[in-house]
Amino acid sequence: MIDNLQEFLYQFFSSKQCQVTKVNQTELSIQLTRELDQALMNRPFYWHYMDKIGRTGEPMSLHLDTGTQPENKEKEWIHYGSPRLQQIFQYLGQTAKFTVLYETTTSEQRKALLPWLLVNVRVQYYGKQTKEQLHSIGLQLINGQLVTQMMDRLATVTWGRRIEDYCYTISPLIKPKSGFQRVFQYVENQLLDQDNQWIQEANTSLEEELQLLRYFFAEREEQLAKEEQQLRERLSPRIQLTVHNAGLFYLTDSTSSNF
């Protein structure tokens, strides 16, 4: 969970190599990079033009305020649900999908690193109403050990994007592709809601709506079929498993054995 939005944004822009200053408790001043300017500022023509004439172009800066009172127009007021934050979230969601990371150790002993597949799965229930669950699942790709709450476990480890000189990785016995299937299988068998009332409610509601539709569209067959299909798409109970993000994590045996 995000508990401090200003801190969250500060971290985000810093890791994207932007210059960020905390102006006060709620405000941030950000000099964007070209990448972020293109992602957030909605001016493709400017960059197209700069590229055409061979200039580097100047990324814009942002002044964000996460406070609860909008005070002046110079600052951009940002809060959950506001279009700007929604845009940043969307960008983050799209770009931070994959990772490969290696545990950083302090010892200089030669060490083997075990491969883990981490899958953050979102379970979406669609029916008369909707809801979501988020599961973070880790699968050890050698022995098939499977654990939940993987993100919390991984957060206790220091990570590097390169393997350290004195470490080496062990090749997975389980291919990531079948790893995903195992994870999905596990979610479907163990983690889905056991209470099926929502399915009945969705079916009842669909039936009701269909009846209404048939009454009011009785003499317009083609339209009726189209509307029926739309209703079914919206109300037929179904579950969707999507991967929010996933990665390969290489861990020492001692860290692994704590999981």
Binding site: M1, L92, Y125, K128, L134, N196, R234, R238
Partner: protein
């Protein structure tokens, strides 16, 4: 029970390719941030909304949360919000809007409200819901501004219409949507044409058994289902509109209507006091002259002049003079005018001054007439009582300014009928009906300005009535016997529509105009009252037996 489960196969397929592409990979921090974001924004339950979690400074009432949940979760975001006045429809709409924004389902939003409410909506959305919504200014950019609050008139004007119709809105909100009742109007057609995914129509007009009143609103929300009212009646002429069970069900799928009584919230009380005023001898004399004069003429507007006279010399004088200027042959009226001119200060006005002096708090005074409004302001001024006036015709900025002056400086606000809609004055809990409207809806709207959610005090309502005038009949027969002030308006509306009386006001004018004598009109009013009372009794009995 078996239901389809879809797995994210695309992700699996892309996974290995992406791992081979270093530019697709991120460090731990961003990876973790993305997960934190997903946890923060997820919708964990079928019934709970996410929005209240992000708005800890707000405390919502149960019926407001319930309403927003129903609209978002089961009505698919297309709904008619028809709560009784003062239950917080704006709050409900704001909650729904916020929820859709949080779920990433709404970014482009158009909010259409009466001119007097534009600023208030902006303030509420910004401060209460932390939603960056902007009132449409002189140079408005429909394409690039995400959340705009504007009026129907501005939106449908030749200057903006096209630009707005080119946008794809995720959500359109229309406040005071009863203005869309008639599908032949430009307003209706414009809203119908807007490209919109979700749509909220807000109305305070009680919608009870008269399906024809909301038929077109429902057809806006469920496009394709109904067609026009004419088509519908033609196609299904085998039955009464009201008896169509499918239509009723369709409506239940789009309408949320909370009544004060159902909310389970303790509302502050209404204390009602009638202030009887007697006309001075010379006033009574003119009043009788006036009545005699019109009785012999059978003028349709007779009742208007008489009611105006009960309000102030000024109101009556001005319209009588206008009437006279169109009829130079009528010498008698000139005498009447002279008589009015010579009258001293109006008895009711003097009583008003006394009453206001005795109230050590803010007071809102409602009158039906502009001339009376100006006169009262002047009169209070003479007594060093600061008063602001408020009218529906004021520009937006002026209205906001007047409201603020009233809140911060003036003791009194004198408002005409047109001010009834929209303005919120919870900081005031004394209301004077200087003259009574004959339309119960307007009365409820007046009271709704101060007796609404957020009012912390019991509300005191003073009704002025002149003895031995038409006001006395109205007060006695209708307001006291029907107990209009205690009853919530919805009940009365229901009764009237059962009785097939469409306008209370017209019905009463008819009674007065058609009656040969005061006695006759009294009997007719008594009859009407008796019928209404018997209905109220039936309602009461039904409630008790349930």
């Amino acid at each position: 029970m078996k239901i389809p489960i879809e797995r994210d196969n695309d992700f699996m397929t892309n996974f290995e390719d992406s791992l081979a592409e270093p530019s697709h990979l991120v460090d731990w921090q961003l990876f973790q941030q993305s997960y934190q974001m997903a946890e923060t924004m997820k919708i964990p339950s079928f019934t709970e909304l996410r929005a209240p979690f992000f708005l800890p400074h707000m405390s919502f009432l149960p019926h407001q949360l319930q309403c927003a949940e129903t609209v978002v979760q089961t009505m698919n975001g297309r709904a008619l919000l028809a709560d009784e006045v003062g239950l917080g429809k704006t709050i409900e709409a704001g909650l729904i809007l916020k929820e859709y924004m949080l779920r990433g389902l709404a970014q482009k939003i158009l909010i259409l409200v009466p001119a007097s409410l534009v600023n208030q909506w902006a303030i509420e959305l910004n401060q209460k819901f932390l939603i960056p919504a902007y009132p449409s200014g002189k140079r408005v950019d429909w394409k690039h501004t995400n959340i705009i609050i504007t009026t129907l008139d501005t939106a449908k004007s030749a200057r903006h219409r096209q630009a707005i119709l080119e946008q794809n809105y995720d959500l359109v909100i229309v406040d005071e949507a009863h203005k869309l009742k008639n599908h032949k109007t430009k307003n209706f057609q414009f809203v119908q044409e807007l490209a919109k995914k979700y749509c909220l129509l807000l109305t305070a007009t009680p919608v009870q058994n008269k399906l024809s009143d909301i038929f077109n609103l429902v057809s806006l929300l469920k496009p394709g289902y109904l067609g026009t009212l004419e088509d519908f009646t033609k196609q299904y002429k085998h039955q009464q509109l009201e008896d169509d069970p499918y239509l009723k069900q369709l409506i239940s799928k789009v309408m949320v209507r909370n009544r004060r009584a159902d909310t389970g919230v303790h509302w502050t009380e209404r204390q009602i006091e009638t202030i009887w005023v007697s006309l001075k001898e010379e006033e009574q004399h003119v009043y009788e002259n006036l009545q005699r004069f019109f009785k012999s003429r059978k003028s349709v507007s007779a009742m208007t002049y008489i009611r105006e006279f009960c309000s102030s010399r000024e109101a009556c004088y001005l319209s009588l003079k206008k009437w006279l200027s169109e009829r130079p042959d009528l010498m008698e009226t000139t005498d009447l005018l002279t008589l009015i001119e010579q009258l001293p200060h109006h008895s009711k006005a003097l009583k008003l001054v006394d009453l206001i002096k005795s109230i050590d708090s803010k007071v809102i005074v409602f009158t039906e007439y502009r001339a009376t409004q100006i006169y009262l302001q002047w009169l209070l001024q003479q007594e060093n009582i600061p008063a602001v006036i408020y009218r529906g015709g004021f520009k937006k900025g002026k209205k906001d300014w007047m409201r603020q002056l009233f809140q911060q400086h003036a003791q009194v606000m004198i408002a005409t009928e047109a001010a009834g809609e929209g303005i919120n004055l919870q900081f005031c809990h004394h209301l004077i009906n200087y003259d009574l409207p004959w339309n119960p809806m307007r009365l409820e709207q007046r009271i709704g300005r101060i007796h609404r959610f957020g009012q912390e005090n019991d509300v005191k309502i003073y009704n002025f009535a002149l003895k031995e005038t038409v006001e006395e009949h109205i007060m006695n027969l209708l307001y006291e016997k029907i107990q209009l002030f205690e009853y919530v308006i919805g009940d009365l509306e229901k009764i009237l529509s059962d009785l097939k009386v469409d306008s209370f006001e017209k019905e009463m004018e008819k009674i007065f105009n058609e009656s040969q004598s005061i006695g006759e009109s009294k009997i007719k009013l008594d009859n009407l009252t008796a019928v209404i009372q018997s209905y109220q009794q039936v309602d009461l009995d039904e409630e008790q037996s349930v």
